[in-house]
């Protein structure tokens, strides 16, 4: 029996590959199985090829598997479009439509079980001509021992708005698939699991949006951009229902402008975007820093520069997030490591923005933002910090930018009697009045930057995995955490002492903790998905990386970091005779 299973379903738009994956994932989440589900599409707006990959496990998982154990293919021509992303495992079970035989290079593998099933024909026979995807779920359920009852219920739930006849036809297709699957002789392929408590199944973008709402965000302004638009969609649906407002603006300049306006007026406000939009927002983030107005931006990284790879993940906005913008501009950058953490990181972003009155960027990426993951139903809870509003005493001879020990000055809100002030993006004095004097500029820069010190003291956000002392310490962030964490377990089983440090707060870095980690490791490996090694360059500027003992692995995004890829890179450093396979095979 298998401890875990990765299944891909591939077809053309209309084949229902993604719908089948959704139903299966919901059924597994209902049974308490751990799920990570990803989707991939061709460039067509509608139709075209689509694929859905579901990894299922009875124990926690943190990344997609390197190879798939089971494949359902409705059309090999569609599969060919994904051959860079979908690696078929050496012992995989491949189920394809009998009308479309498997190409030699796939079928010739001796360990694989290649099985033709007349998906379309069987579905037609039971009166469900559009139900070949559901029929394939029946086959998969029988072969891999996946919960048939839960799949039936998930199916009914999915089709609850359809007619009874449609539901009935699909259920028949599922049963026909179960029968066809039971008749196959492909050995024991069953996934081992004990049913547990139902889990939430959600994507990073959704978790970020829920986090924002929980943090008290009641104003969202945004402009559509892949791969962040789901946050706009969520806000459009839910904010009005809880007394908030969602505004779709004419561009990203207006989106971040409206956010700064809403926050100036006292309401927690947020926008979300991706690289091109973050570029446009840079100037306004400077105003947020200068006028000390809280602003939260969720930036979902995709391949860049320019339009780049809009639907694929990369970690190449890091430099822009930490350094982007003109002038000396303090900001905080926080990077979630998985779907659940997208919730916590977004609440923390609001907490930091509100407490320290500065812009905060949630630096996530497409792979976390758009994949669906199971999480414990009670895991989405986080403490909320509110803004330092001026008290009546402080409004006595009120100075909006009063110099204080922490750099944080009490904020008055329009509508507060006695709280009036005029502020601006010009350098200003304690009252907010424009000043172009060097002394004032120096004083105010110091005030604004001192908030970063206070912030760094209060928030030491990072994850650390592996032994206390290690032969190799990996430093990575964001979505790289998943494959690194899984690689660590495998490396430990092989007797290698490898640890990992994953900063969640990227700016300001938890420097003392990171330095301790570095000193606890003999060698360091910085690992990231950017061609230009942005994390490595950033760390070089921020902490002392040991010369001659620091290695880096950085490659373009567009394909997620593999668990084996991490293992290979670790062995490249720790096992001198180890031959590294060509990364971009």
């Amino acid at each position: 029996m298998k401890q875990q299973l990765t299944l891909s379903i591939v077809g053309s738009g209309g084949d229902g590959a993604v719908a089948a994956g959704d139903i299966l994932s919901m059924a597994c989440a209902r049974q308490g199985l751990h799920i990570i589900k990803t989707e991939a599409y061709g460039p067509q707006i509608r139709g075209g090829e689509s694929s859905c990959t579901v990894r299922m496990s009875s124990s926690p998982i943190y990344a997609q598997a390197d190879a798939i154990d089971a494949l359902v293919v409705f059309s090999w021509a569609d599969f060919a479009r994904f051959r860079n992303e979908l690696v078929i495992g050496p012992e995989a079970v491949v189920l394809h439509d009998s009308d479309d035989p498997a190409p030699d290079e796939i079928a010739s593998h001796p360990g694989r079980k290649i099985v033709g099933i007349p998906f379309a024909k069987l579905a037609k026979e039971v009166g469900a001509p559009n139900g070949k995807n559901i029929l394939s779920l029946g086959v998969v359920s029988a072969v891999f021992g996946l919960p048939a009852d839960a799949i039936r219920n998930a199916l009914k739930n999915r089709f609850k708005k359809k007619t009874a006849a449609v539901v009935e036809a699909n259920l028949k297709a599922f049963e026909a698939g179960l029968t066809a699957g039971a008749a196959l002789s492909v050995g024991d392929q069953r996934l081992q699991y004990t049913p547990g408590t139902p889990m939430l199944l959600m994507a990073g973008n959704e978790a970020s949006a829920v986090g924002a709402v929980d943090a008290g965000c009641r104003f969202f302004a945004g402009y559509p951009i892949t791969p962040s638009s789901e946050i706009l969609h969520f806000m459009s649906e839910w904010l009005p229902r809880i007394g908030g407002t969602c505004l779709q603006t004419e561009d990203e300049l207006a989106a971040i402008g409206a956010v700064v306006g809403g926050s100036f007026a006292g309401v927690k406000s947020m926008t979300s975007t991706s690289g091109p939009g973050l570029s446009l927002m840079s100037e306004m983030l400077g105003l947020s820093a200068m006028a000390e107005i809280p602003a939260v931006v969720v930036n979902v990284q995709r391949g860049g520069p320019s339009t780049g790879l809009p639907t694929k993940s990369e970690q190449s906005d890091l430099m822009h997030a930490v350094y982007g913008g003109h002038g000396d501009m303090p900001r905080a950058v926080i990077a979630p490591v998985d779907v659940e953490d997208s919730y916590h990181a977004t609440v923390e972003a609001f907490n930091i923005a509100e407490e320290f009155q500065m812009p905060v960027i949630v630096l996530t990426d497409q792979s976390i933002a758009q994949r669906r993951e199971t999480l414990a139903a009670d895991s989405l809870v986080h403490e909320v910090v509110d803004r330092r509003i001026a008290t009546p005493e402080e409004l006595n001879e009120y100075r909006r930018y009063r110099l204080t020990a922490t750099g944080v000055s009490p904020m008055a809100i329009p509508g507060m009697p006695g709280g009036m002030y005029q502020t601006n993006g010009l350098e200003h004095d304690e009252q907010g009045r424009p000043s172009s004097m060097f002394v004032m500029h120096e004083k105010m820069n110091a005030k604004r930057y001192s908030k970063l010190d206070a912030l760094a003291k209060k928030y030491r956000l990072f994850r650390r995995y592996g032994p206390e002392k290690a032969d190799l310490g990996i430093i990575c962030y964001g979505s790289s955490m998943g494959p690194v964490r899984e690689a660590l377990d495998q490396l430990a089983a092989e007797g290698l002492r490898v640890a990992a440090f994953v900063p969640r707060l990227i700016m300001p870095l938890p420097a003392a903790d990171l330095e301790k980690f570095i000193s606890d490791c003999d060698q360091i490996l910085v690992l990231e998905l950017t061609y230009a090694a942005q994390l490595y360059q950033y760390l070089r500027a921020q902490v002392d990386l040991p010369r001659g003992k620091t290695h880096k692995f950085s490659r373009s995004g567009g394909r997620s970091l593999g668990i084996n890829e991490v293992i290979e890179q670790v062995k490249r450093v720790l096992v001198p005779s180890h031959q590294v396979e060509e990364v971009l095979a």
Binding site: V210, L247, G257, M420
Partner: protein
């Protein structure tokens, strides 16, 4: 209590001295604004004046209300954010023609289209003053400026025509030298529900010549007594006539504002039902079948 409070132009003045050149039209705009705010009895702490960047965008600093001198071109989105989150506030945008029509042109159009509840008082001097004399979208074709040494090769835009065609629900024009008339128009613009656009002709004596006041005065023309301000066609014809500068309320209508529409969205979303709890929101991600 509020009936005891006396509002005079002085209520809104502070001790900051404007950076404007002697003879600048913006002084007239500022004086008209003090009077308009006083006449409308605008509570200073319930009033927010937002500007972009330019000579005229310095104005919020000189008015004792909440004020925000923001980025070049971005006053309107910021003001929209303020109004949507705090609808009880009076939100006024001030700025120049370069700010409002060039770098911020997109926001101007969309604020008009969505009838955002703000009044935009645009000081139009047909030039970039703060950066010392380059052509603006309002600079007449052929005019020599520092950036159009051989004469401006581009046609000028009529800001009022732009506002009307994009759906602004109140469009007027005034001359800053006429403080009395400007005060009245500002009062109507600020009182208007929805997006009100007031094109303030505000001469730049430094970069457009010191006879600007005289030249403009000679071209001013009041609206015909029988002007029908509810007609887009008439407004478009009168604003576009070339030589004469028509002042007054060119166009005015009543239509739902952005704040109204957002309240309508809330109603459609929730009606009289109790707001959803967190569990209700998470329900969609929970396999409870």
């Amino acid at each position: 209590m509020t009936t005891d409070v006396v509002y005079t132009p002085n209520t809104y003045k502070n001790d900051l001295k404007p950076v404007w050149c002697p003879g600048c039209g913006d002084f007239g705009v500022l004086n008209s604004l003090y009077r308009a705010l006083a006449d409308l009895k605008c509570e200073p702490h319930d009033t927010v004046i937002v500007s972009g960047i330019g000579c005229s965008s310095r104005l919020p600093g000189y008015v004792e209300t909440f004020g925000f001198n923001t980025l070049h071109g971005r006053a309107i989105p910021i003001a929209t954010g303020v109004k949507l989150t705090a609808p009880a506030l009076k939100v006024i945008v001030v700025g120049g023609d370069g700010d409002g029509l060039a770098i911020g042109g997109n926001h101007f159009l969309h604020a008009a289209r969505r009838n955002a509840d703000i009044s935009f008082i645009m000081m139009d001097n047909e030039i970039y003053g703060l950066t010392k004399g380059q052509a603006a979208p309002t600079t007449p074709v052929g005019d020599k400026t520092k950036s159009t040494i051989y004469g401006n090769p581009e046609a000028a835009v009529d800001p009022c025509a732009l506002a009307i065609s994009f759906g602004a629900s109140w469009v007027g024009r005034s001359f800053s030298g006429d403080v009395k008339g400007s005060t009245e128009l500002m009062k109507r613009a600020i009182d208007h529900r929805g997006f009100a656009f007031l094109n303030m002709i505000s001469p730049c004596v430094t970069w457009r010549g010191d006879d600007q006041h005289k030249q403009i005065r000679a071209r001013l023309r009041p609206l015909p007594a029988d002007h029908d301000a509810s007609s887009r066609e008439t407004a478009m014809r009168l604003t576009n006539e070339g030589g004469p500068i028509t002042v007054g309320v060119l166009y005015e209508n009543k239509q739902p504002t952005l704040v109204d529409e957002m309240l309508e969205v809330r109603w459609k979303a929730q009606g009289e039902k109790q707001p959803p709890t967190k569990a209700d929101i998470l329900q969609q991600y929970m396999p409870t079948f």
